[in-house]
């Protein structure tokens, strides 16, 4: 059996209450609303704290209405947040200004701390917005929304195929790893990592061959370069209201 188990790509799946008023909104309204919140947060001056508070309040409201728990948000956000915050953590040391303390030989400035706090707030708001889109909207719905919002169709097609075949490729990786372990492969140092490289190239070749077969299967059913649209979306009054309610307050 190829493909991933139910837990492996849980980060991309819908969470919370699938019947909530947020989950039921047209994916376009959610995408636009949460992108708007992110844009407001990133384009605001670094120390405009009331704006950050407004954004956070909207996100908290959405999370509560959708019954997405703080644990779920943290579980998903921690994939991105620490990386960005790690990069931002150098700001208090490199920004020049009024020195308020020091860590070892490095001085910390008040301006640097302020900028760091602003960057951290922007990052957190952007990440949580993305997490909430993912938790309240299935990936196919996000793609449909992008397509209707006139995102480049090639981009949407690539994202769609990547999502679909991530499961298949991950299944192949898992089977390859099992096959290597079954023949007692247990690398102890870097010099024994060669087989991993061979496995990676085999995986690449398999993925390439699969790409060709998928194209044949698409062409066999009349594909000529444009993806047809099957599932209609409906933007109702409630969706517009949600968009306004989420995007205006910040």
């Amino acid at each position: 059996m190829s493909g991933l188990g139910p837990h492996d790509l849980a980060l991309a799946s819908v969470a919370g209450d699938p019947g909530s008023p947020i989950h039921r909104r047209d994916p376009r309204s959610k995408l636009l609303a949460l992108v708007a919140v992110t844009l407001v947060a990133v384009s605001t001056p670094a120390t405009a704290w009331p704006v950050y508070a407004g954004c956070a309040a909207v996100l908290a409201g959405v999370a509560v209405a959708a019954r997405v728990t703080p644990a779920t948000i943290w579980h998903r956000a921690r994939v991105v947040l620490p990386l960005v915050l790690f990069a931002a953590a150098f700001i208090p040391f490199v920004r020049e200004g009024h020195v308020v303390g020091s860590v070892g030989p490095f001085d910390v400035t008040a301006e640097g701390l302020e900028t760091f706090a602003g960057v951290a707030a922007k990052t957190a708001i952007g990440t949580v917005s993305a997490v909430l889109i993912g938790a309240t909207t299935s990936f196919p719905d996000v793609l449909r929304a992008l397509e209707r919002l006139r995102a480049p169709r090639l981009f949407v097609l690539i994202a769609m195929l990547t999502y679909r075949y991530a499961f298949v490729v991950a299944g192949e990786v898992r089977r390859m790893r099992t096959a290597m372990r079954a023949r007692a492969y247990r690398p102890r140092h870097a010099l024994q990592a060669g087989p991993v490289g061979h496995a990676a190239s085999a995986l690449f070749l398999r993925a390439h061959a699969r790409g060709e077969r998928i194209y044949l299967a698409m062409a066999a059913r009349g594909f000529t370069g444009t993806m047809p649209q099957a599932v209609p979306l409906r933007l109702g009054a409630a969706d517009v209201l949600f968009l306004a309610a989420a995007a205006v307050p910040p």
């Binding site: 493909g3 196919p140 679909r164 066999a220 009349g222 047809p228 649209q229 099957a230 599932v231």
Partner: protein, 249 residues
């Protein structure tokens, strides 16, 4: 009776020079169920790709009156449904419903008619319940049936299946057999599973080295031990094709 497939002297060489089809002569009538048997590398898959216009070889090939050529590719794709060996190659859309709708929408049907076709095709393979699931959530047997639905939705006059019983457990294989048996389309089944062929098809063709080596009633061909041995084919231990045919009848 319309002549569904008419091939005369069909030849095809891959760009590397390998001659995959070396003059195939084959006639299949409307409504027939034909098993295409042969060892690996016999040219079975190459022949299958020709039927749908994915490859265009030399020689004569007509499907339902349409002469295969660069100008008739769209007609061939509308009339001939190919079901590939690995359902993961065939099911590329995020949900089953969208995947089954892909073909009908490419035919230019409206969304409403396409959805009617989806419902009908999924019903024909007993898979209506999984319409909104993602292909990776299905079992291999379910994926195979959905893959068949993706082409049934295009209402092809000829259905070509590549190794339909590969990687299926006995139950999924039995269910697939029942689904295919209930179809009212001309069937061409490319397979190594001789018992499967015996249960489903009344006629068989042995393809080897790019040529048709034998053509006749499936049970008679499968009872010819010398023929099977000459083309690296083998019946399961203790399987009697003549008795299987009688039981199926």
């Amino acid at each position: 009776m319309t002549c569904t497939i008419h091939a005369r002297g069909l030849r095809y060489a891959y760009p590397g020079g390998h001659l995959a089809l070396a003059g195939v002569d084959l006639t299949v009538q409307h409504g027939e169920r034909v098993a295409v048997l042969g060892p690996n590398g016999a040219g079975k898959t190459t022949l299958m790709l020709h039927l749908n216009g994915l490859l265009l070889g030399d020689g004569e090939l007509r499907i339902g009156g349409v002469v295969a050529g660069p100008d008739t590719v769209a007609d061939l794709r509308a009339g001939v449904g190919l079901v590939f060996q690995d359902p993961d190659d065939q099911l590329f859309m995020p949900t089953v419903r969208e995947d089954v709708a892909f073909g009908p929408l490419n035919l230019g049907l409206g969304a409403q008619e396409a959805m009617r076709r989806v419902d009908e095709a999924l019903g024909a393979v007993g898979m209506r319940a999984v319409a909104d699931r993602a292909p990776h959530e299905l079992s291999m047997g379910q994926r195979r049936r959905v893959a068949i639905a993706t082409v049934l939705a295009m209402r092809p006059q000829l259905l070509v299946l590549d190794e339909p019983s590969a990687n299926l457990d006995p139950r999924a294989r039995r269910e697939l057999l029942a689904v295919l048996d209930a179809l009212d389309t001309t069937l061409l089944v490319v397979t190594h599973d001789l018992a499967f062929a015996a249960r489903l098809c009344e006629r068989a063709v042995v393809l080897d080295a790019g040529r048709v080596m034998a053509d006749g009633p499936c049970d008679e061909l499968l009872a010819d031990a010398a023929l099977l041995a000459a083309h690296d084919l083998e019946l399961p231990e203790g399987f009697d094709p003549l008795r299987a045919r009688r039981a199926a009848a």
